[in-house]
Structure formats: structure tokens, C-alpha cells
Amino acid sequence: MIWKLLRQHISPLQFLGFFLANLLGMLIVLFAFQFYRDVRPVFSQEDGVIRNDYLIVSKRIGAMGFGSPTFSKSEIADLRSQPFTRSLGAFTASQYRVSCSMGIEGVADFGTQMYFEAVPDAFVDTDLAQWTFKEGDTMVPIILPRSYLAIYNFGFAQSHQLPKISEGIVSMIDMTVVLRGAGKEHRLRGRVVGFTNRLQTILVPESFIQWSNHEFAPDADASPTRLIVEVANPTDDRIANYVKQHGYDIDEDKLQAGKATYFLKVASGVVMGVGLLISFLSFFILMLSIYLLVQKNNRKLQNLLLIGYSPARVSLPYQTLTVGMNLLVLLLALTLLSVLRTYYLETLWAMFPTMKEASMTGVILVGTVLFLTVSVINVWVIRRKVANL
């Protein structure tokens, strides 16, 4: 009955205006937030194998191929003694011939010549129980560059009508590794235990390289061509200067990804800001509508208070109305968001098949916080307005 009284003078148009504006604002805020969360891992993918604050240093190869591509002992010692260096490890390459074939159920249908490299185990950020090799073991753990999988999935599988394979499946495939050198041949199984974006090489445990180089290429020179350096602060200017002076290269991927993430952050921030602004304005539309409504129904509200209704009871219909609308906006925005999301996620997945889907928990939380904040203010303002009649 109170509702019958108080719904007088409600302007559907004003409320529709508020509703749409608030929906738009909410949707933009939530979309920006979710998009940022979905896309960010693409730029700043945690590698899972090589920590992001390691730099990989190699020698720049001259135009004519002059100059040794390997690091001498003194060069390594010099780099190790730099103040920005925390620790340093050398890449050791296999000095013998390696071939590898991959097959399902013993049928070898994919074979290639390849090589191995190793870095000190301390630089490999993977489950160390898997990352071991002792002489006599029949299985060697391997870490592959993630791009190899992409090449297979998008180049090879696509054109040969083969199924695309995921990282999980690769780990289950048996590889046969054949080592040849010094007149000997040795067969063992290889198992992929991880993937990395940081290293374009096939990584095996250092103990395996030491054993196999000694066994199959006892006389070869194993000077490293690349070094892995843990630095205190990757943005330190001295690193760039040192690298430039000595004609070295460092992988700039990380730097580029950092910039992209930064722009993504700025863009999402701006979009979210716009969304918040719209939400804020729609909040004012609602407040003005409510003020107007209270003003127009002033006498009715007063009379209700005079015949013994409490301000809380009189405020309740308008509070329910606004909170209900806010809730509806939240639910609708989340629904729309999940629909919109499927569109861009498909595209993203096509580009980055290894991308892990971010959960929507965060965005639900953000929406709920926004909803609660706005609702609490609405409830409080209406209550105050009624109490001041």
C-alpha cells in the first residue's frame, strides 16, 4: 500500500536513463578490468622455467662472421665481477651429434637432427625432482621452446591435417634420443618436462651434458656461446652500457613485453576511468531522480511519518528500488561481459594457444564492490533525505 502511494511521480524515462547509463558505465569498467586480466598474461607470461629477472647475454655476430662467438674465461670473469651481476651461468652445448624421433606406440614418424644445451640447474625454475640425470639413467628430461610447439601446431599440423597438440600431450609423448660421437652410439628416452619462451634452445640438465660431452666428444672445446645472468635490477643503466661497450646482445623480449604491458595497463586504466566516470554520472542521475521523487512526494512522505511510520519504513521502497536496479545492472553487466568475452577470447586463443584463461572471480569482486559502494551511498542518502523531511 505504501508502494502504491510512493510510486506516484516515478518517471520511467529518468530511471531508464539512469539504468542505461549505469549499465554502460558498469560494463565499461568491468570490461576494461577483465580484458586487462585476460590479455596481460600474453605480454608478461610467467615463463615457469626461466625466471623473468634473468638476462641472457650472447655475442653479437659480426657482418662477416668475424670474431669468436664464444665467451672466453676472462670475459666471463669480467662479467661476473660487475656490480650488477648477482650470479652467472654459462650455456654448455652438446659437442656430438644428436638425433631424435618422436612416435606414438613405437611407430617413429617424426625424426630430426638436433642439439642440446644446458645451464646450471640453479637457473632452471622447474620441479627439481624431474630435472636430474645420473649416468646409467635411461630417461633424460628436456625443456623445449614454446615456439616449437607453435610452429608444429600452426605450420606443420595445419598443413598436414594433423591434430593440434597441447603442452600436456607433448609431455606424454615418448621421444627416442640417439647420441653419436667418438665412435659410440647411445639410445635413451627423452621426456618433455616443460616449455619456455625465454630460451630458443633445447635444454637438458647440466649433469647430462657434462656426462655426454665427456663420453661422446671428449676432446671438443666447450666454450659457451651464451651466458645467463641474474641481475639485481634489470633496469640498471650500467647493464645496457656494459653490454654495448663489449658488443654483446641481451634478449630484449622482456623489455618489449614490459612496454606492451605498460601500455596495456595505461589503456585499460583510461578505459576504466571513463567507465567509472560514466558510473559516477549515472549515480548522480539516480540521486537527482530520487531527490525529485522525494520532493514531489514530499507531502505523502510527511503524512506517512505523521501517522506513525518510521523514516526507515518510509525510505524502504525507494531504497529497494535503487538497490534492486543496481543489482540488476550488475547482473546484466556481468552477463553482457561474459558474452563479449567469448568473442575476443576466441581470437586470443587462436593467437596464443597456450594462454591460460583468467578467471572471472576478480571481475565479479570488482562489480560487487562497486555495487555495494553505490548501494550503500544510495541507501544512506535516501534515508537522510526522508529523515530531513
Binding site: 500500500m1 502504491k4 502511494l5 501517522i307 506513525g308 523514516p311
Partner: protein
């Protein structure tokens, strides 16, 4: 609540008047539960002001007003809400009914709050007051006299210690005044409460315990 006391109370706008010549303003007056009072007044002497001060929606007065010794200026909003649900009822001179609602809804909007009367009893009143055919009519379409009867029914739909009736019969004929007076006094007696009626001439035919000139 047993007593309403006015201690040297008068409307603030009367502050410059030397001669008030009133038995209420600037006097010490006590209204007691269980009694019938008539406050007679000429127009412009502050009759409705008195009701609004006691009912707590205006406080532009000087002096002190107390309920059972408690200064009513100290009552909180929730105190007043409780007061208007359980202890004090006012039949407004301007009625303050809701034109969008029907006659019955106007009574029920109060009764739903207090849960005090059964619908049957309310319909019985409509019958007695001769407006049973208007139960479901919009208040806006009824005459002022008919509206006065609805307003009175609404005022009776709650427990009260004091019932203030501000010119309750200004637009009623003698027969209906009589019926209304009977219903009102019967309800007041049943509750053991006081009735304070104001009037500017025509007044309810009751056996008043005190008649005060405002």
C-alpha cells in the same frame, strides 16, 4: 503516558503580545489520561499550533511541554514514531488523507502499521457513519464531511493515551456529529484514554471534564 503538561507555553509568534487572555497559553496546564477536554478558540489563536506542538511536528513555541515530566524537546525521531504508534493519536484539521487511496485503504494504511483493529470492525464503523457505500471510493472523490469521518476512523486505529481531535466535526451535520462522538468516546473509554477536542464554535456534544478557552 499519564499526563501532558504545558508550563508557560506559548507560540513563538505571540511573544510580543502582552495580553493573551488565554487559559492555555502562558499558563500551567495539565491534561490527564482518562478525561475529556474541550479547547475552545477563536480563529487565529493557535489551536492547530497547539496540536502540532503536542504531536511533535512543530516546535516553534516557548516554555516547556512535558509528557509524564519528560521534556518533549528531547524526544528523538524514533521516540516520536513510537509515540504516534502507541500513545498519541491526532485527527488533523486538514485530515492529511491520501487522495490516491480508497477510503478503506486510508484507514488500513494506519491499521496495517499497528494491527490494532479487525477489518470487520472498520467496516462496521463505515456502516455506522453512513458511508459504507464509499468504502472503495477514492478519497479525492469524497466530500470533506465524508473525509472527516474517514480521518477519524484512521485516528482510532491505534492504541493511544491521548486522542487529539482538531475540529473534527466542522463539516458534519448534528446526527453524524453525534455518531462520531459516540464512536470516539466509546473507543477512548475502552482504552481509558483522554480526548482533547478543539473547536472554533460548533463542538462535539460530549460531557467534557474541562473546557479551556485558548
Amino acid at each position: 503516558m499519564e499526563t501532558i503538561r504545558l508550563e508557560h507555553t506559548f507560540p513563538a509568534i505571540f511573544a510580543n503580545r502582552d495580553e493573551l487572555n488565554s487559559e492555555v497559553w502562558r499558563q500551567d496546564v495539565t491534561f490527564e489520561r482518562g478525561k475529556l477536554y474541550l479547547v475552545e478558540a477563536a480563529s487565529g489563536t493557535g489551536k492547530s499550533s497547539l496540536c502540532s506542538y503536542i504531536y511533535g511536528y512543530r516546535n516553534d513555541y516557548q516554555g516547556v511541554m512535558t509528557f509524564d515530566g519528560r521534556n518533549i524537546r528531547n524526544l528523538t525521531t524514533s521516540d516520536w514514531t513510537k509515540m504516534r504508534q502507541r500513545h498519541l493519536s491526532l485527527m488533523f484539521q486538514d485530515l492529511r488523507l491520501f487522495p490516491e487511496l480508497t477510503a478503506l485503504e486510508n484507514v488500513q494504511i494506519k491499521n496495517r502499521l499497528t494491527g490494532f483493529k479487525r477489518k470487520k470492525d472498520i467496516l462496521q464503523w463505515f456502516e455506522e457513519l453512513g458511508i459504507s457505500d464509499k468504502v472503495n471510493s477514492k478519497i479525492g472523490l469524497m466530500s470533506f464531511g465524508q473525509q472527516q469521518r474517514v480521518a477519524m476512523m484512521r485516528a482510532l486505529c491505534q492504541p493511544f493515551d491521548f486522542l487529539l481531535a482538531d475540529e473534527p466535526i466542522s463539516h458534519l451535520d448534528d446526527r453524524n456529529s453525534r455518531i462520531m462522538a459516540d464512536i470516539m468516546v466509546e473507543e477512548a473509554k475502552r482504552q481509558g484514554s483522554a480526548v482533547i477536542v478543539t473547536s472554533i464554535g460548533k463542538h462535539m456534544p460530549l460531557k467534557y471534564d474541562h473546557i479551556l478557552k485558548l
